[in-house]
Point group: C2
Chain length 282, copies 2
């Protein structure tokens, strides 16, 4: 990485990282995370030295570990390690990657004796993007496997291809459809559509990631009188919607200003939700 690419808050020579608690920025080439994408990740929003909504991240990671049969590390240890990396930063992202660990032999079949590898890296809070958030439909579909649906696992090539397409199209985010044509999510976000005054987000039983910000919206919206429901969405539903939002822990509740050539006016519920979420402890 050339120093010209380094973000302002961190120099290219100090991108702090911890691997199994040890300050180092390398992993074994035999790690199954590299060899097969055999692992999970979480992107943690950190503010004033604390990880936000940590219990929600831990619950999702635990569900992923159970599904993939990777031993779940101690939550308090993960929190301590994450918070040790952000000391001195008012706001940052910590990425936690948890893999099945170093392979004893060759081949997809786990031996069962692997020791999970936990990798934490810290990233400066991104500079604000363009004031207009632009979204298009992705030309890359989201292949769906119910066994992996909802998990934030390391197999993310479709999202890489989708973001290549987004870059080529000059948009910030692209919405991805299942093979059956249902809109599932953005490449790096979940989707909420305003429909009849309520917020609607697609179910994730077939594919997609059960986002932390999505779960916050689902839990908190009713508290401020905003109806929210989980329901399949088609492309036509998107075209008919007066307002769209995409959510992730970095963007929060991000209003979409432009969708496939159409200018949208952010619905006021977005700001109300964002205020509520900003205050939410868990």
């Amino acid at each position: 990485m050339s120093s010209a690419l380094a973000p302002p808050e961190f120099s290219s020579r100090e991108r702090p990282a911890l691997v199994n608690g040890v300050p180092q920025a390398v992993v074994s080439v035999h790690d199954r995370g590299l060899q097969y994408g055999d692992g999970l990740f979480e992107t943690l929003r950190c503010e004033q030295g604390r990880v936000r909504w940590f219990e929600r991240h831990l619950a999702r990671l635990g569900a992923g570990c159970a599904r993939l049969r990777i031993p779940m590390p101690d939550g308090a240890l993960l929190r301590r390690e994450a918070e040790s990396l952000i000391d001195g930063h008012s706001r940052a992202l910590v990425k936690l990657v948890l893999t099945r660990g170093v392979a004893g032999g060759r081949g997809y079949r786990p031996s069962g004796d692997e020791q999970a590898t936990r990798i934490l890296t810290v990233h400066p809070w991104p500079a604000a993007g363009s004031p207009e958030f632009r979204v298009a439909l992705s030309p890359v579909a989201l292949a769906c496997n119910r066994l992996l649906a909802g998990l934030k696992h390391l197999n993310r090539l479709e999202q890489v291809l989708a973001q290549q397409a987004a870059a080529a199209a000059g948009v910030d985010e692209v919405l991805m459809c299942s093979p059956s044509g249902q809109v599932i999510s953005g490449s790096m976000s979940n989707l909420f559509v305003v429909q009849g005054g309520a917020l609607v987000t697609p179910p994730l039983e077939e594919g997609g990631v059960a986002g932390i910000m999505r779960s916050l919206v689902l839990d908190l919206a009713p508290q401020v009188g905003i109806a929210v429901r989980i329901q399949p969405l088609s492309r036509q539903d998107l075209e008919a919607a007066p307002a769209l939002f995409v959510t992730n822990v970095r963007l929060g509740v991000q209003a979409v200003h432009w969708y496939e050539g159409r200018r949208l006016h952010p619905d006021a519920c977005g700001l109300r939700l964002q205020e509520l979420i900003d205050r939410a402890e868990a």
Copy 2:
């Protein structure tokens, strides 16, 4: 890795590896291969100091690089690096992993400035398995994306889950179906079914890996009068087949002796093909 797990020919302390030509066994935690499975791999069969069927591997890797827009390394360099690792071994496997390289920033979108990482590891030739090769249907489906179909990419969680299931079922390999119920391939192999005296293998436009051994069978079978065709296969076709084979560069043309409770008698074409392939230079 405990030394008890070490294969006979290599000690646990010397699992030779090259990263971008440098003898080392670690990669950056920021490598996109680890972060997203953003890369490709090849498993090379090496005999008497030479990589077998190298041009075929190179062609598939090149097709993958073109699809993912990863710069393709020089083929002669890859061959030299692979062959430098197997010096002194009569037979071994070299795994070549090629990733998009170290991320400059965070997020799925490639900057376009990444330098691809090439990782070569050498693995002892596996000990012969049980004389009876047992195969079952996989409870794990193969999610299909035409943009990734045929490629040997690093997103292999489905194969890991399928092999976990194979281990639990006490079988060597499991056959994976697309969401529409077509049988596509084994978790680590391609499939050939004897049907009306001909060999039939499924098309790979929807999903699966375009195996090197599969391409050798397709190219060479007609030379010894064995008809071979690419055609969709259902589970019923498997149940009706008098013989099944699975193929990869490690197993070669492996006769299936047991499929879902049914004992099968290897068709003689398997041995004829294997002899032909063993002699094939390219």
